[in-house]
Symmetry: C2
Subunit: 275 residues, 2 copies
Amino acid sequence: MPGDPRPIGVFDSGMGGLTVLRALMARLPNEHFVYLGDTARLPYGTKSAETVQAYALQATRLLIEEGVKMLVIACNTASAVALYLLQEAWEPVPVIGVIEPGARAGIAATRNGRIAVIATEGTVRGGAYARAIHRLKRDVEVVQQPCQVFVALAEEGWTDSPVTVAAAERYLKPLFGGKGAPDTLVLGCTHFPVLAASIRKSVGDDVALVDSAETAATAVAAALDERKLASAPGYPGQARFFATDSPQRFARVGEIFLGRPIDARQVELVDLRAL
Amino acid sequence: MPGDPRPIGVFDSGMGGLTVLRALMARLPNEHFVYLGDTARLPYGTKSAETVQAYALQATRLLIEEGVKMLVIACNTASAVALYLLQEAWEPVPVIGVIEPGARAGIAATRNGRIAVIATEGTVRGGAYARAIHRLKRDVEVVQQPCQVFVALAEEGWTDSPVTVAAAERYLKPLFGGKGAPDTLVLGCTHFPVLAASIRKSVGDDVALVDSAETAATAVAAALDERKLASAPGYPGQARFFATDSPQRFARVGEIFLGRPIDARQVELVDLRAL
């Protein structure tokens, strides 16, 4: 079996989705990835569903035109409000979001049936995580909290700082303070995994943190197998980067999320108007 | 003299510019204002100069088409990178930015000849404040610090919170800690005036805080007089609002900056594609 050498497209509003790419590359070392960050219009998390849908549809066209065999919507906000639209638009290319894998992992982790989800304003407003969790299991209690400041803290690289701990206290203490608190916290934004150390200080050691990057990588691996789309073993995987604004900032901030240096000269600037 | 009843256009990337509108309304109670926040593409502060120029040019066309007699670029980032472009594009309508008024006020405030400027990444990168200050007075020392997290903290309404004080400590202690520290701090982003209490706690009582909203209002008042564009005394001023995304979020977050409630039904949604 020669395998399918076509790349996998990974789409995000900016650099946060590089946490998903990082998990994908670790999990699928023989795959090629083409990553697009819509940095000229980030963040999506504070924008309306209609605007995010229009942006995501326009931007993912570039990845489709690159001939991808599968599309991963690494952005939680875009997954929450635009997944079905993108699945319909790009059929027969499979489009996988991060919400359902995160919901599944949250259910697997909870013992007391209470799950907290932190995400952007847009993801929380649409209620996609609560719906996905309840579709899989009805008798689970879900509390949701938008944590918009976390996005800026992650992009600033303040991954383990007194500022981030103070923000985590303010957002999370009301959720985890009392009796009947959730035992599971779903990090429902690609920016949040890099803040895990500060979040952990606030919620304590007994709460399971669910990272939707890891769970999305598991879902993508399963879908590749199921559809016989995996590349041949031994194929040397690599990643290419596209951004709709400053390759320099993409490289600088992207390192925080990818966990390794990015050469700005290898980030290709895409003209918005050409999409 | 009947006065000029046409409105003044106020442009910003989002809601932060409402601090400028607030100062303008207090200063010029007989003027009409038309405010446009490009909320579908905010923030501008992390984007490249080319992208901000393209966005600002496209968005301000709407205000020009509303028949404004003057255009105020309330956004520091857009003022820093797009002012001359907009002045040229919309001639003969006068276009006033917030950088030069802020520079002028900083020079007036300093006694030791050392000024610190805090702003977005985009404003700092372009160095517009340092250039504007040095154009007016050569022998002034200017230090600049991007404070990107302040934008998110202001939009979250954490105007006086331990989180904001911790962020101010992290950003500002290195600037104001030692001997030969600046005695003046220019708040070079429209979001920052609402964080003044927390910023004050970090820099102490001896540092003059310069709010570019106030100084921009002074410059606009002077320009109206000079060009004989002021409305008639006794004319009841009012404000209209346009946004390129969610009127609900504009109203909710906008209150923080305008300092009074905004009715979401009175915020008109403008389609980006129509601009």
